[in-house]
């Protein structure tokens, strides 16, 4: 396992978000961190990406403490797409993707052939090559998110971390982004770790799910194992009927409004 949080305590200023949290990211898989607001899933992702130094414990990347590894070296091993993204004023798609080469370049050196190759590859694999001369702020939500993912891919890392890459996107764009990440995992063997809000999207795309609540890991495992009536009730505080997806067979969680709760035999239905 290349990336692991070992008994970390995470805090902003003096507010402790998570205590003694241990996460082991499976290599070559799509992992999803899920949990209600304030469960610490984004905080945990930031710690995994070296953006937040743990107050206690450590994050290990390739057998070394990530805090003791220079940020530039980390950036060549692991890419992170934060939730809040600042699009520079009137920047073209190609110029934005070029930022992904930053960790590989020094101030004065001209871009190498490897840099160009990496950018072209990132553009083509995300199907953004034909948008290269367009301004990023003129793209649709899904296109824009694909461009940001292209930036991360241009970094040339096997590990890609994304903080809520589908939030604020229409459902078609959500699928567009998640399909792309799935494809990157399948065809390029990328290890994908992302924070998602929607448990049905998580169930559909994840190989491995970390369920978090109040800064602690409640359970982890395959979607079939973690998305159960009891866990959804415990973690999200909702009654939901869990049925197999009619097409994919993955678990599907259908939250129930007040009047319906008594009518469904929920606990049994999860089996």
């Amino acid at each position: 396992m290349r990336l692991q949080a070992q008994g970390v305590q995470l805090a902003y200023d003096r507010t402790v978000i998570a205590n003694d949290l241990t996460l082991t990211i499976p290599d070559g898989k799509v992992s999803v961190l899920i949990g209600p607001n304030g469960s610490g899933k984004s905080t945990a992702l930031r710690a995994l990406a070296r953006l937040l130094p743990p107050a206690k414990g450590s994050v290990i990347l390739d057998g070394k403490s990530i805090q003791d590894t220079p940020t530039k070296e980390v950036a060549r091993l692991l890419a992170i797409l934060p939730q809040v993204l600042v699009t520079p004023e009137s920047i073209s798609v190609e110029d934005l993707v070029w930022f992904g080469r930053h960790p590989h370049r020094t101030s004065l050196k001209v871009p190498s052939a490897a840099d160009k190759e990496a950018v072209e590859w990132a553009l083509s694999v995300t199907s953004t090559a034909e948008l290269r001369h367009q301004h990023v702020d003129q793209l649709s939500g899904g296109q824009r998110q694909r461009v940001w993912i292209a930036l991360c891919l241009a970094q040339g890392t096997d590990l890609i971390l994304l903080d809520e890459p589908t939030t604020y996107l229409d459902v078609a764009y959500q699928l567009e982004v998640l399909d792309l990440l799935h494809q990157l995992n399948q065809e390029q063997g990328k290890t994908v770790v992302m924070v998602l809000h929607d448990f049905n999207m998580a169930a559909e795309y994840a190989d491995h799910v970390f369920v978090m609540k109040s800064g602690a890991l409640v359970t982890e495992g395959a979607p079939e194992d973690v998305f159960t009536y009891d866990i959804i009730r415990e973690v999200f505080g909702v009654d939901a009927k869990v049925i197999p997806h009619p097409v994919s067979g993955k678990p599907m969680c259908i939250p129930l409004r007040a009047g319906l709760r008594n009518r469904a035999n929920l606990a049994v239905a999860t089996g």
Partner: protein, 341 residues
């Protein structure tokens, strides 16, 4: 459909963005022409012939002597002060990620002003050049106070801006207090405070030259780091940039540039705010192009302001700082109206 959109976008990318070198060169030539003309403008009648004679080293006539002794330092200072203020403003706007950031925001200008005033009033009759070190140190101290107050395990751009405004206000209050307490001695101090290149000699040029010569190329080399900081702290760190250290270094460069400019010329407002804006509008957001461009716009603004100040009502001198404020204010309003849609 897609191809029309692409075509529109390409058309929208102006000539300047596609061939920045050509426009940059034109701006440089314009600045040189203005400088040449500026050597002849002033209280004393100097012809362009005298200027030429002086520039080739012939100082036999009184007029060409005036050019060398009085006009040349001013024009050189326009270049250096304009560059220092504009590049400082461009770096601050990039680092703080706010188009309203300028040397004034981070406390440098007011800190320098206060220190300079204090010295001028404490020792009446002191020549203005003696103020330079005091003002320089004052600016650095003010910026240091801002950074320390804003620092909480890292100095976020918004906290720097807010603390900067507060510290500036405190120094502004200090300046006013000095003015009110010493109503009879303030005239020299007031002229310095307004920002003027009147009566500067080659000494002033040498006082600012090293800072500009060292820091401006260094900042241009670091242009891509500035671009990366513009992506936000988290993504910049994710791309391997040590965000806090880079931000601190760049701010330090910007502060030293601004302090050196204020020290030799007093507080010349608006150049540090507006020149980077003009550069970004014409050359786009990439700092590798926009910083040299901002420097050229800063030089042009200073040359024009100084020339207008000297030429509008000779022998009366209107301080350049006043001209930049009069020109800069409306331009800035225009900018707000234009972009506020």
């Amino acid at each position: 459909m897609t191809s029309t959109i692409v075509a529109q976008n390409i058309r929208r990318t102006s000539l300047a963005r596609r061939h920045p070198a050509i426009l940059m060169g034109s701006l440089g030539v314009l600045a040189l022409v203005l400088s040449f003309y500026g050597l002849s403008v002033g209280a004393t009648e100097v012809s362009l012939g005298d200027v030429l004679r002086a520039l080739v080293g012939d100082t036999s006539t009184q007029a060409s002597q005036i050019v060398i002794d009085f006009q040349l330092p001013r024009v050189l200072l326009c270049w250096l002060v304009g560059t220092a203020l504009a590049v400082s403003g461009a770096v601050m706007q990039g680092v703080i990620r706010n188009p309203l950031a300028a040397p004034d925001i981070i406390g440098v200008t007011k800190g320098s002003g206060f220190a300079g005033m204090l010295l001028l009033l404490a020792i009446p009759g002191l020549p203005v050049v003696a103020v330079v070190p005091a003002a320089f140190v004052g600016g650095l101290v003010a910026a240091g106070i801002v950074y320390l107050c804003a620092y909480r395990g890292g100095a976020s751009p918004i906290r720097i801006a807010l603390v900067g405004i507060a510290v500036s206000a405190a120094f502004e209050a200090g300046i006013r207090f000095l003015l009110v307490r010493n109503p009879l001695d303030v005239s020299a101090a007031l002229i310095w405070l307004t920002g003027s290149l009147f009566g500067r000699s080659m000494t002033s040029v040498l006082e600012i030259l090293p800072w500009v010569l060292v820091l401006v190329p260094l900042i241009i080399v670091w242009a891509r780091k500035l671009d990366v900081l513009g992506l936000g702290d988290d993504l910049a760190a994710g791309l391997g940039e040590p965000v806090e250290r880079t931000r601190r270094m760049l701010l330090f460069f910007a502060v030293v540039l601004a302090a050196s400019a204020v020290a030799v010329s007093g507080t010349i407002g608006f150049v540090g705010l507006i020149a980077p804006h003009m550069a970004r509008r014409v050359f786009g957001g990439k700092h590798f192009a926009s910083i040299p461009a901002a420097a050229l716009f800063g030089v042009l603004l200073m040359l024009i302001a100084d020339m207008l100040g000297r030429g509008l009502a000779p022998p009366l001198e209107i301080p350049a700082g006043l001209v930049t404020a009069v020109v800069g204010g409306p331009y800035f309003l225009y900018l707000l109206v234009k972009t506020g849609k």
